[in-house]
């Protein structure tokens, strides 16, 4: 997508080696964009180093909300060229793109020069040296703010606010450096030469939020009523936990850092048994460790929410990058016949809805809910319209009332049995992973096993999940069926195809387990071609669809592994080339 066809939609990348401040530049630029009335998205890309090492801030700024990155970049600003090759596949430049480089950083790598892209040399290091307390990345921020047509007053205030803790000297130096970059004549010349439209300042009344996917899941969890969490650190779920920890404390709850994931999920089950809605968050390897106890929570009918932020796997895989390849584990990883729920968040705002819904479902149905997010959502930040949604009313956890003949696992029509909470007199029972009778007494009798399996299945199968099972948009004979963070790319692809005259419908599944075959069949009425889109090498989502759904249409497949997110352009190309 070029600037000419999408006038106020600019993609830019800032790269630098460790300590160069590329990420800070990106974060401030995103905030500045928000302040100037724009929407936007920023992904961070790091090398494997713990501290330092190369980093790239990948941004997309414009007048309309975006939920995925564009196919290519309009501008690359390189603070230096060390390890720049590492980002080559992530930062796709076009012949009409622009590189802004610092002559002090040395020769531009051949790989960049060969692209034939116009290069503007801005002496960022030299300019920074002329300012007390100035740093090249603040020069870069000024350059980019000018490029985007932003106002420099607002930037001055933002810098003052962000750097206030670092002291007046740093604030003044950063502001002066910003101004030096902002007023750099080379940039003004390049802009006017290209006659570039830029977002500039946008005035509107629309309330907007800046949010990462991990924060969205955290907020959804709290809205759903989570008041206890236990977890073990793992990329890319740790920042979700770090967001939750102090907030749970302020809400009167707590987060415990456990010794491992085996402990975290068992702590969650213990706390939930105690009556407190509880969750953990992890990523693939951690989820693998939790599966045994998730079976316990299913058998003992203890509500538990597990947010799994997917990353490249198997094993340590590509821990800082995204993939949609834990679907099979979430669906099928539990031992025995263990009915549970699996939901997938579709975009940043949807992380809030999906996680809140998951908590409410877990509490209501007294079972395990796995929420699938991924690194692409979790660790990117967007500026989006204020997220609004309405969940259907869901009854909370059914708590047992005092009775003389309490049976914890009573066979009810709904399959949901009132749950006694420790502290309640006369209702004492033993929650058990052993198969049990209605009273909870261990039993290996065939009739008890059958009855309890039926009950645990029934409470999920008979529940009315309503309209939130999927997010559907558009109409047409061609449909994209997708899930998770690939949904945003699918929606944008459909929008582009519509503009080109091909109507495309998008069906993004939010509720993955239990499957909703009738609902999908209804949505696919009149659809003759279905393109399944997912970020998995072994086509996990496609095979799941094949196993659970009837799709009376020609099926195409766009399935590939991470680490690069599925782009709208890939989907457009596949549909355009579908003969």
């Amino acid at each position: 997508m070029t600037n000419s066809s999408h006038s106020c939609d600019i993609s830019l990348a800032v790269t630098g080696s460790g300590g160069a401040g590329a990420i800070t530049t990106g974060e401030l630029l995103l905030q500045l964009s928000g302040g100037n009335g724009c929407f936007g998205m920023m992904r961070r890309s790091f090398g494997p180093q713990i501290r330092g090492g190369e980093a790239a801030a990948l941004l997309r700024i414009g007048h309309r909300p975006v939920e995925c990155m564009d196919d290519s970049f309009d501008l690359l600003l390189a603070l230096d060229w060390r390890n720049a090759d590492r980002f080559a596949e992530e930062i796709n430049l076009r012949p009409d793109s622009l590189i802004i480089a610092d002559p002090a950083a040395g020769e531009i790598p051949d790989s960049m020069r060969e692209l034939g892209v116009e290069i503007i040399n801005v002496p960022m290091t030299a300019l920074a040296k002329e300012v007390a307390g100035g740093r090249p990345n603040m020069i870069a921020l000024g350059v980019l703010a000018h490029w985007l047509g932003f106002c420099n007053d607002r930037a001055g205030k933002l810098i003052a606010r962000i750097f206030s803790r670092k002291g007046a000297e740093i604030v003044a130096g950063s502001q002066a450096a910003f101004n030096a970059g902002f007023t750099e004549p080379l940039i003004a010349e390049a802009r006017s030469a290209r006659n570039l439209p830029a977002p500039g300042e946008v005035k509107h009344d629309q309330a907007r939020w800046a949010l990462s996917g991990n924060e969205g899941c955290g907020l959804g969890a709290l809205r759903g009523g989570i008041r206890f969490a236990a977890a073990y650190p793992i990329t890319p779920a740790s920042d979700l936990l770090e967001w939750l920890s102090p907030r749970l404390e302020q809400l009167g709850g707590s987060l415990v850092q456990a010794e491992d994931e085996l402990a975290s999920i068992n702590m969650v089950i213990g706390a939930s048994f105690g009556g407190v809605p509880s969750m953990t968050a992890t990523s693939g390897p951690g989820l693998a460790l939790m599966l045994e106890a998730m079976g316990l929570a299913v058998a003992a009918e203890v509500p538990a929410v597990v947010v799994n932020v997917m990353r490249g796997g198997p094993s340590t895989g590509i821990p800082t990058k995204s993939e949609q390849a834990d679907l099979n584990m979430a669906l099928y990883g539990l031992h025995g016949d263990a009915p549970h729920l699996v939901l997938g968040a579709l975009d940043h705002a949807d992380c809030i809805l999906t996680t809140e819904w998951s908590v409410r479902l877990a509490e209501s149905l007294q079972t395990v809910v796995v929420v699938l997010s991924d690194q692409n959502l979790a660790q990117s930040r967007v500026i989006i319209p204020h997220p609004e949604y309405k969940l259907p009313p869901i009854p909370g956890r059914q708590v047992a009332k005092r009775t003389d003949s309490y049976q914890r696992y009573q066979l009810t029509d709904s399959g949901i049995s009132p749950m006694a909470i420790p502290g309640a007199p006369d209702l004492m029972y033993v929650a058990d992973g052993l198969e049990h009778s209605e009273s909870g007494k261990p039993s290996s009798a065939a009739a008890d096993h059958q009855a309890q399996l039926d009950k645990r299945q029934r409470k999920i199968a008979d529940f009315d999940f309503g309209d939130h099972w999927a997010q559907c948009s558009g109409t047409g004979e061609t449909a994209i069926v997708t899930w998770g963070s690939s949904a945003a790319a699918a929606r944008e692809a459909a929008e582009r195809l519509r503009a080109l005259g091909t109507p495309v419908k998008v069906i993004a599944l939010r509720l993955l387990l239990p499957a909703s075959p009738d609902k999908l069949a209804a949505e696919l009425a009149g659809v003759s071609r279905v393109l399944v889109v997912e970020q998995s090498h072994s086509q996990q989502f496609y095979r799941y669809l094949r196993a659970w759904y009837e799709m009376d249409a020609e099926i195409g497949l766009l399935a590939r592994p991470g680490p690069l997110p599925i782009s709208p352009g890939e989907i457009v190309t596949q549909i355009e080339n579908w003969s």
């Binding site: 928000g34 309330a207 907007r208 939020w209 800046a210 949010l211 924060e215 907020l219 709290l222 008041r227 206890f228 236990a230 907030r247 749970l248 404390e249 302020q250 809400l251 009167g252 709850g253 707590s254 987060l255 415990v256 010794e259 491992d260 085996l262 402990a263 975290s264 068992n266 702590m267 089950i269 213990g270 706390a271 939930s272 048994f273 105690g274 009556g275 407190v276 509880s278 045994e292 106890a293 079976g295 316990l296 003992a300 500026i383 005092r402 909470i421 420790p422 502290g423 309640a424 007199p425 006369d426 004492m428 029972y429 033993v430 929650a431 058990d432 992973g433 052993l434 007494k441 261990p442």
Partner: protein
């Protein structure tokens, strides 16, 4: 949550359920069950305010044999589940019980971290130096030259853990050793353990008549320690290391602030956090 106080039971048998234990005749675990119910009766704890958490194994079946709240979970994770319950519900008295395999092998990591974390829990390991439920394999407390397991026909060749020493090193603040042949002594020990404001660990020598019949001889070797309880970890370590593992009593007790997460009054509402997202 608590509706209204029920009549406080006064007899130990009131803390027992009507489920018949799966244990073999002569199993030491019967005495542990009796000691627990005696201690609870002595402390006059309302049944609804007590939870007994266990894992998997013969001894872990104990949860179903009491009439308090209970959780019979997965193998080795009872301490973690109990920690979550206590974190969420500090008003409850939380007991944890299981065997030497459950607590020291598959659950070994949780054991050392529970000692270190020092939450106000009482943990009972019924130590019979064998896996009974799986029909007689060596555990982490089995002697290296025990030859009766088909799984390790020449013996394990591996030195056993000394549970009390392990607990001390890991930072437990209350360490005791009891014997199933002395249920009254064990009950007194349990009262002290429950009253101890931190993590209390009791290793109970609890013979297995089926797979370790030679343990029926333990009654001739076990002795009540004449030494006073110490709060000095160095002295406690010396005593534990010098001992043959058959001395009973409270070997170590030290007042260390218990870890209790949460429980503070709420100072915010969820909506307060939402404002931070506004652009």
């Amino acid at each position: 949550m608590v509706q209204q106080a029920s009549t406080i039971p006064i007899k130990p048998k009131d803390y027992k359920s009507d489920i018949k234990p799966v244990w073999c005749p002569g199993c030491g675990d019967f005495a542990v069950l009796n000691a627990i119910t005696k201690a609870l009766a002595f402390l006059e704890l309302p049944k609804e305010d007590v939870a007994l958490i266990s894992g998997i194994g013969c001894s872990s079946r104990i949860a179903a044999y009491t009439s308090v709240y209970g959780f019979h979970g997965v193998h080795g994770r009872a301490l973690a589940l109990a920690a979550g319950l206590k974190a969420a519900r500090q008003d409850l008295t939380v007991l944890v019980a299981g065997g030497d395999g459950d607590g020291l092998s598959i659950g070994g990591n949780h054991f050392i971290h529970a000692c270190r974390r020092n939450m106000n829990l009482t943990y009972i390991i019924m130590d019979n130096e064998v896996y009974g439920m799986t029909k007689g394999q060596a555990s982490p407390t089995t002697a290296p030259d025990w030859l009766d397991s088909k799984l390790t026909p020449g013996g394990t060749g591996i030195r056993p853990f000394q549970p009390a020493g392990l607990a001390l090193t890991a930072g437990a603040s209350f360490i005791a050793r009891g014997f199933s042949g002395d249920p009254n002594g064990m009950a007194r020990m349990l009262v002290e353990a429950i009253n101890h404001p931190g993590f209390s660990f009791i290793q109970v020598l609890s013979p297995c008549p089926t797979f370790r019949p030679e343990q029926m001889d333990w009654k001739h070797h076990v002795r009540v320690s004449e030494q006073e309880t110490t709060d000095d970890p160095v002295l406690a370590a010396q005593r534990i290391q010098a001992d043959d593992g058959m001395s009973t009593g409270i070997l170590y007790q030290r007042q260390i602030p218990a870890f209790q997460p949460g429980g503070k009054p709420p100072v915010a509402e969820v909506a307060d956090f939402e404002r931070a997202f506004e652009v």
